[in-house]
Amino acid sequence: MKMPRSRLSTMGLVAVLLMGGYCLSSIIALFWVTYTSFKSNTEFFASTWALPESLRFENYSYAWANAQIGHYFFNTAYITVLSTVGTVTIAAMAAYVLARVLFPMRQFVFYVFLSAMMVPPMLYLFPLFVQMRHMHMTNSHLGLIILYIANGLPFSIFVLTGFFRSLPTEMEEAAFIDGATPWQTYWKIMLPLARPGLITVSIFNFIYFWNEFFWSLILLRTGKLYTLARGLQTLFWNMSTESRWTELFAGLVIVMLPLIIVFILLQDRITEGLTVGAVKG
């Protein structure tokens, strides 16, 4: 039967125009940043809208080398990778126990982790900063990584506990009957089974750490330790005295590009993961 698809009503038309307009302005804004990043500053100040006369790749080498974006890129990359691996490893172990082992206080421990998702960082910022200064963990990448791991745990434990609970118990039982130790069962049977969940959680942590700004603002003082978010912010704030806008835009593109590529490659996985993470709560 043919669906009696309603002809486009006035409301429908307005809706479609609204969404089209929204998407179009979004694309124009990003397009503007991208082509401006190839202009010279003289051209840019002469006309905001005009397309570049020639593609100045120098802006990119300036942003990468002189403005230190390249340096921040490597800082961010290794901090993000180590934090993601650390978070997922520790969260998976905790989640496995919380999902599969019956012990008193199990629910309580689970909620103690979850509570962090409701608490604004402004609540515990100062005590945490003072404490980390005592521990010599401020202005250090190691300190930042450890804090990131602690920060990534609640969300990761939440999602992975749900995931482990959804797995069948038969294979675990069979492994134990065959005489496997709990550690072997976890490592050889359960972790491989949990792979889709682990990948989703890794992607989310990776994006979160890659973009993270707040804690790197609080903890990092020395320029050479900066991450991309922190470095870009400093560059932007310096614009009032420096006015190297097109180089700033080149930096902006360098920061945006990896995430846009990741999203193009993993669009479905990311949008699905988001649904699992948010709605189950």
């Binding site: 309603s6 009503s9 409301m11 809706a15 479609v16 609204l18 969404m19 998407c23 979004s26 503007w32 100040f45 905001t48 809208w49 520790i90 172990m93 905790a94 496995y96 126990v97 919380l98 082992v101 012990f103 421990v109 103690v112 982790f113 409701m118 604004p120 960082p121 402004m122 609540l123 515990y124 910022l125 100062f126 005590p127 945490l128 404490q131 804090l147 602690a150 434990i157 709990p182 550690w183 994006i207 973009n211 700004f213 707040f214 991309l228 978010a229 870009l232 912010q233 932007f236 704030w237 700033l248 920061v255 999203f263 669009q267 990311i270 949008t271 649904t275 948010a278 709605v279 709560g281």
Partner: protein
């Protein structure tokens, strides 16, 4: 039998997470309540106990009240934009329009960008000299509308709200869409047979069945609104007097004003307010869950 085996894992597997969570979350949270009762500057060795003085001070502090006011304004203004837009876009995407994947991509991509990227992008768009917005208004002959968008509270409020909406909208669209896709098609078919038009179907089928999702997202929005910090902090380039929210005021009070005790008290107030708001709204929105 299996449980006996598994129990051996409890401590070794739970300990690393528990230690990190305790040291970097629970202890500072508890300390924060303690700090908030002192007049500690952050430097002196002694923390002088002042009782609830910091809390009293906050509610007589003009800037704090202003910050709270701005949080509420941003929260309400953003809500009024985000929820209708997100629902509308989700409805459109749910009807599988041409290029749905691409549209989803465009709406959702900003969510994945760092808040600093959003701030720099919109900060440049709003720049009075080279900004895209003023320049476009001039081109369109609407020069009278151009202004220093981030120069005063009056203009910054809507301008920054738009940037917030741009960054946040994607999550809401995706989650509404996921909720809509769970509603059985047969409901719409019978509504259609009963002669319900698109708008009636939205109000009487989609929205009631989506209520759980709406509830969760409203709470998410409230918590996010109270926490607002990074976007405003970066986009105003450290000139907090243009527009101050609770987050930026607490940050400056603690790190520049060296009033750690006072800043902690304001942090506690922020947390308690966000919590109360969420609980009240959750209560108000409670309805019987519809099973389907």
């Amino acid at each position: 039998m299996i449980q006996k085996q598994l129990r051996k894992l409890i401590w070794p597997f739970l300990l690393p997470a528990l230690v990190l969570h305790t040291v970097f979350f629970i202890v500072p949270v508890i300390n924060s309540f303690y700090y908030s009762l002192t007049s500690w500057s952050g430097i002196s060795l002694e923390k002088q106990f002042v009782g609830l003085a910091n809390y009293v001070r906050a509610f007589t502090d003009h800037t704090f009240i202003m910050g709270l006011e701005n949080v509420l304004l941003f929260g309400v203004l953003g809500f009024v934009l985000v929820f209708p837009l997100a629902l509308l876009f989700a409805v459109i995407l749910n009807r599988k329009p041409p290029a749905a994947r691409f549209l989803k991509f465009v709406v959702f991509a900003p969510t994945l960008l760092s808040v600093v990227v959003t701030a720099v992008l919109w900060g440049s768009i709003y720049n009075p000299v080279i900004g895209l917005l003023n320049e476009s208004l001039r081109t369109l002959g609407l020069e009278a509308w151009s202004r220093p968008w981030l120069g005063s509270r009056h203009n910054a409020l809507p301008a920054i709200t738009v940037a917030m909406v741009w960054q946040g909208l994607g999550t809401y669209v995706i989650l509404f869409l996921a909720g809509m896709q769970k509603i059985p098609v047969s409901y719409y078919e019978s509504a259609e047979l009963d002669g319900a038009n698109g708008r009636q179907q939205f109000w009487h089928v989609t929205l009631p069945l989506l209520w759980d999702v709406v509830q969760i997202l409203v709470i998410l929005w409230i918590i996010g609104a109270f926490q607002a910090f990074a976007l405003i902090f970066v986009i105003t380039r450290g000139y907090p007097n243009v527009i101050e929210v609770l987050g930026t005021y607490i940050y400056w009070a603690g790190f520049q004003g060296q009033a750690i005790g006072y800043a902690s008290a304001m942090g506690v107030i922020m947390f308690l307010m966000a919590l109360t708001f969420s609980l009240v709204v959750n209560r108000l929105m409670k309805r019987e869950t519809i099973q389907y």
